[in-house]
C-alpha cells in the first residue's frame, strides 16, 4: 500500500522537495554572507552608539526574505488545496475508490497510509522551509527586534498550519466528493480559521500582561499627554491601549478620549458653577479655579492645568495589555498545539466517516 501511495504521489513529492532543495542551496549560500555582514556592519556601529543608517541598510537587504516569507505563508494553503483536497475527492469523483477499496487492503489501512505518507510530506516540506527561513533571517530578525510581526512565518507554527491544511483538504474532499469544490472550500476555510486564530485566539492564549498608569493631561504650554503607557520593551506585542474610567469602563482607545483628538488631547467643557466636564468621561469631582484658564502666553494657565490634572487622575487610567517577547516561544507552542490538534481531530473524523458512510 505504501508503494502504491508513493507511486501516486511521487511526481508531486519530487517537485516539492526539489523546490525545497533549490531554496536550501540559495539560503545556504546567502545565509553566511548575511551573518558576516551583521558582524561587520551592525555590531561595530552598535558598539559606537547610533547606527540607524547601518541597520537601515542591513535590513533593506531583505528582498529575498520578503519573497520567502510570502512563500511560507501560502505553502500550507497550497498543500491543503493541491495535496489534501484531491486525495479522496479524486478517487470518489472518478470512481477509482471502487478499484482501490476492493483490493485485499482494508480501507482503514489504505486511508492510514495515504494520510500518513502525504500528510508527513506536507508537514516536512512546510516545516523544513520554515526552519530554513528562520535560520537564514535570524540576523535580520535580531536587528528588527519585532518577533511578533513575523510570528506565522517563523519557528514551529508552520508545521501546525501544514498539518491542519492537509487534513482539512482531505476532509473537504471526503465530504464534497468533488475535487474543485473541495479545493475552493479548503482554501476559504483554512484562510478563515487562520485569520480568526490570529485575531481572536493567539493574543489570549496566555493571559496578557497589563500596565496600569495615570493619564497626565497636557501641561502648561500645551505639551503632549503622557506616553508612559508604552510597551516596556520594543519587541513586545501590544494588544490594546485603553483608557478606562473609575468604574472600569473603556472610555478611550490609543490615547483618544471623547472627542479630543490625538494622544490625550483632552477636552474640558464648562458645566456651570465653576465645574468642568471631562468630555467623553463625565463631571470632574474637583472645582476649577475661577480665574482665566488661558495663560497670558496662550495655552492653559498653571492653575487650570493643576485642576485638570487632578480631574484626569481621579477620573481615568490608562491600561496597556501586551504579550512580552519572552512569551514568543510558549505562544508558538500553543498555536502549534491548536493546529496540530485540529489536524488530528479531522483525521480521526475522516476514519469515522469512512466507516460510517461506506461499509
Amino acid at each position: 500500500m505504501i508503494r502504491l501511495s508513493w507511486r501516486q504521489f511521487r511526481a508531486q513529492a519530487t517537485v516539492a522537495f526539489g523546490a525545497l532543495a533549490v531554496i536550501a542551496v540559495v539560503l545556504a549560500i546567502t545565509g553566511p554572507q548575511l551573518v558576516h555582514l551583521y558582524y561587520t556592519s551592525v555590531v561595530p556601529c552598535r558598539a559606537q552608539g547610533d547606527c540607524s543608517v547601518a541597520t537601515a541598510a542591513f535590513v533593506g537587504r531583505d528582498k529575498l526574505l520578503q519573497a520567502l516569507s510570502l512563500v511560507l505563508v501560502v505553502v500550507p494553503g497550497v498543500i491543503g488545496v493541491f495535496w489534501g483536497a484531491p486525495l479522496l475527492a479524486r478517487e470518489l469523483e472518478t470512481g477509482t475508490y471502487q478499484l482501490a477499496w476492493t483490493q485485499s487492503v482494508p480501507r482503514k489501512r489504505w486511508l492510514a497510509v495515504k494520510l500518513g505518507l502525504v500528510g508527513l510530506a506536507s508537514v516536512a516540506v512546510t516545516g523544513l522551509l520554515s526552519l530554513m527561513v528562520t535560520w537564514w533571517s535570524s540576523p535580520i530578525d535580531r536587528v528588527n527586534a519585532d518577533p511578533f510581526t513575523v510570528f506565522d512565518q517563523r519557528g514551529i507554527v508552520p508545521f501546525g498550519y501544514a498539518a491542519f491544511a492537509f487534513a482539512l483538504g482531505v476532509t473537504a474532499g471526503m465530504l464534497l466528493r468533488r475535487t474543485v469544490p473541495a479545493m475552493a472550500a479548503t482554501l476559504v476555510v483554512f484562510a478563515g480559521i487562520r485569520v480568526v486564530v490570529e485575531r481572536l485566539v493567539r493574543p489570549y492564549l496566555i493571559a496578557p500582561l497589563r500596565i496600569v498608569s495615570a493619564v497626565v493631561p497636557p501641561g502648561p504650554g500645551n505639551s503632549p499627554g503622557n506616553a508612559a503607557a508604552a510597551a516596556p520593551s520594543p519587541g513586545d506585542w501590544v494588544l490594546s491601549d485603553q483608557t478606562i474610567n473609575a468604574a472600569g469602563r473603556v472610555v478611550g482607545q490609543d490615547g483618544v478620549i471623547g472627542y479630543g483628538g490625538g494622544r490625550f488631547g483632552i477636552l474640558f467643557s464648562p458645566a456651570g458653577d465653576g465645574r468642568m466636564t471631562l468630555q467623553g468621561v463625565g463631571l470632574c469631582p474637583n472645582r476649577f479655579p475661577a480665574q482665566a484658564s488661558v495663560a497670558p502666553g496662550g495655552g492653559p494657565s498653571a492653575a487650570f492645568s493643576q485642576a485638570a490634572g487632578k480631574c484626569v487622575t481621579r477620573l481615568v487610567r490608562q491600561v496597556l495589555a501586551y504579550q512580552p517577547t519572552s512569551r514568543y516561544w510558549p505562544l508558538q507552542g500553543y498555536e502549534l498545539a491548536i493546529f496540530g490538534g485540529l489536524a488530528l481531530i479531522l483525521a480521526g473524523f475522516s476514519f469515522w466517516w469512512m466507516r460510517r458512510r461506506f461499509a
Binding site: 500500500m1 508503494r3 502504491l4 507511486r7 501516486q8 472518478t94 470512481g95 477509482t96 475508490y97 471502487q98 478499484l99 477499496w101 476492493t102 483490493q103 485485499s104 487492503v105 482494508p106 480501507r107 482503514k108 466507516r355 460510517r356 458512510r357 461506506f358 461499509a359
Partner: protein, 298 residues
C-alpha cells in the same frame, strides 16, 4: 458449501428513497449468475453492498458465508469490476499490474501478464488513453489475477461496442473455465447474459422479482394463448406473471410446475428475454398500482 451470495431482507435507503428493498436471495457457488433489471432497479446497489462499498440500511448480506467486512482475507476472496470500469488514468498498464501485486497477497502475475499480452495492450500505455473495451479488459485482468473465489462485475459491458462486448464476455468465460470462480454479473440487457449465465436474478423496482437456474426458469414458465378470459379463473397451480388481452384473445405468461392440461390454451415456450420482460412488466404494473394507491391516500 456456503452460498456465494446470501441476502435476508436486505435493503438500502438513500434519503427517503429505497434503492433496494426486502431483497432475499440465495445464490449458490460455482455459477455464472446474471443480475438483470432495468436502469435504476438497484443492481449497482446490491453489488456494492456485496463488496462492502455500501452498508445496508436493513437486513443482512453474506458473501461466501461471511458478511462483507473491511479485512484483508474477505477482500481477497472477492474480485470486483465496478460500473464504467474505473482505472487510474495517470498510471500505465504496467503500473496497474504492479499495484495489483502490491495490494493482493494471492496475486498471480503470470496470469496478469499473459492476459495483457493476449489482449495486445501496451504495458507503457497510460490507462487514461485506453479505449473503453481495453479499459474494461484491464479492470477484468486486475480482478481475475487477484484469484478471487467470487468475481462480481457491475455492467462491465454497458459502454462497449458489440464487438468489444463479445470479446469481453468470451475472455470472461475463458477465465471462469481456467480458474473456476463464481461470477455475479449485472446487465440491463438480457442478450449479454443469455449466452453465459446459468443462473438468473431479475431485479426491478428495487425488488427481486425472480431468481433461479436458467434451465429451471425456462422449464417452469410458459406463454398461454387462447380465447379471452379472466386470468383469475385459471387453475390454481398457474401463477400469472403477465397478462395482455385483445377483444377476443388473452396472452398470459405463467409459472407452472407441471404441464398445462387445459386444452383451451395454446402453450408456447418462452425465451429468456421474454421471461425477463414479463417479470419486468409485472414489476412496473405493481409499481404504478402502488403509486395510484398512494395517490388516493394523499
Amino acid at each position: 458449501m456456503s452460498a456465494a451470495l446470501a441476502a435476508r431482507g436486505l435493503g438500502k435507503q438513500y434519503g427517503r428513497r429505497w434503492a433496494l428493498s426486502d431483497c432475499t436471495l440465495d445464490i449458490p457457488q460455482g455459477r455464472v449468475v446474471g443480475l438483470v433489471g432495468p436502469n435504476g432497479a438497484g443492481k449497482t446497489t446490491l453489488l456494492q453492498l456485496a463488496v462492502g462499498l455500501l452498508r445496508p440500511t436493513a437486513g443482512t448480506i453474506e458473501v461466501l458465508g461471511r458478511p462483507p467486512s473491511d479485512d484483508a482475507r474477505q477482500l481477497g476472496q472477492v474480485g470486483f469490476v465496478a460500473q464504467d470500469t474505473p482505472v487510474y488514468s495517470a498510471l500505465s498498464v504496467a503500473d496497474h499490474l504492479r499495484l495489483g501485486g502490491w495490494l493482493n497477497p494471492r496475486w498471480d502475475d503470470e496470469v496478469a501478464q499473459r492476459r495483457i499480452g493476449q489482449l495486445g495492450l501496451d504495458l507503457k500505455q497510460r490507462a487514461g488513453k485506453l479505449s473503453g473495451g481495453q479499459r474494461a479488459q484491464l479492470a477484468l485482468t486486475l480482478a481475475v489475477a487477484k484469484r478471487p473465489e467470487l468475481l462480481i462485475l457491475d455492467e462491465p459491458v454497458a459502454s462497449l461496442d458489440p464487438l468489444a462486448r463479445r470479446e469481453f464476455l468470451q475472455l470472461l468465460m475463458a477465465a471462469v473455465a481456467e480458474h473456476e470462480f463464481s461470477i455475479v454479473l449485472s446487465s440491463h440487457l438480457v442478450a449479454d447474459l443469455e449466452r453465459i449465465c446459468d443462473y438468473l436474478v431479475v431485479l426491478a423496482s428495487s425488488r427481486v422479482q425472480v431468481a433461479g437456474e436458467v434451465d429451471g426458469l425456462l422449464a417452469t414458465h410458459r406463454r398461454l394463448i387462447g380465447p379471452r378470459r379472466d386470468p383469475k379463473a385459471l387453475a390454481p397451480d398457474l401463477q400469472v406473471i403477465d397478462a395482455s388481452h385483445t377483444d377476443v384473445q388473452s396472452t398470459l405468461v405463467v409459472r407452472c410446475d407441471g404441464p398445462v392440461h387445459d386444452p383451451g390454451w395454446t402453450v408456447e415456450e418462452l425465451s429468456l428475454e421474454d421471461l425477463v420482460l414479463a417479470y419486468m412488466g409485472r414489476a412496473r404494473q405493481q409499481g404504478s398500482a402502488s403509486d395510484r394507491r398512494l395517490g388516493v391516500l394523499r
